[in-house]
Amino acid sequence: MIVIGLKRKLLDRMMPKEFGFVSGLFHTGVFTLQSGIDETLGKIGMSEYIFPAIKESMETTEQLGIEPVVGENIEDFGKRFIKLLKSSLLVENASLKKKEDGSYVFSLNNCFMAKSAHTVAGTKGVCPMAMVTAAMIEKYTKKEVMVEYSNLTPKGSVTNIIADITGPNKE
């Protein structure tokens, strides 16, 4: 933990401001695509086109020599994914909490990209890592999942993810 903390501090100092701008441009692309799909096809389009691709991509970790992220259930996935995010030095901490109504809250704390990304790309969008989490919640719960726009701050993001627990199972 101490090593990761030191590495992160070093990274913060070493990375040029230009990196922040580039990550902002990356987020601009993601947020624009999200809102474009949302406006033309609706949230149903977001989940039907983006989630399947994410689920498939999650299987590729081993090709990069990374510990598999796909776990036995959503709790197991949450632990693995948060560990991965912290090891990547992207965030200082993250959490995935299940609320009493069955919805989830995914938070990134002190995200390395947040300040620049959310400045360049604006604050209307779904955090890309929350999209990943939402796709995986759908995978494990087998329920239709809806993602609300993230609360994007200079330090991170908080995203509500709603799984339709009363609806039919998704194939």
Partner: protein, 109 residues
């Protein structure tokens, strides 16, 4: 003229609330396309200041697809195209199917 498939999309819930389609058209993606098309049609109508959608008829080589709206729900009905039928007849038939579906207790309003 009988319907081959029926999808009911609720614009408030933003989800498909009922679907009865042949197995070859029953993937979640195929069913979701009904809702996506409704959203796209609403967008088109909005952009051209055409007002609220009443109905849409898509006449294809092999099939007819008719969309009709009732309050906050849209029905998408798939018909085989084995004869030339007036659009108004298709819309009327779709409306009747809609009435029958709404009587079904399984549909959440």
């Amino acid at each position: 003229m009988s319907a081959e498939g029926i999808i009911l999309f609720d614009e408030i819930q933003e989800k498909t609330v009922f679907a009865e389609v042949p197995p070859e058209f029953s993937s979640t993606r195929q069913i979701a396309l009904g809702g996506m098309f409704v959203n796209m049609a609403k967008r088109l109508s909005h952009e051209f200041k055409a007002g609220s959608i009443n109905s849409v008829v898509i006449s294809c080589e092999e099939k007819l697809i008719c969309i009709s709206k009732r309050e906050h729900q849209f029905i998408i009905v798939l018909y085989p195209k084995n004869e030339n039928i007036e659009d108004s007849t298709i819309i009327q038939k779709t409306s009747e199917i809609f009435d029958n579906i709404l009587k079904n207790d399984k549909i959440k309003n």
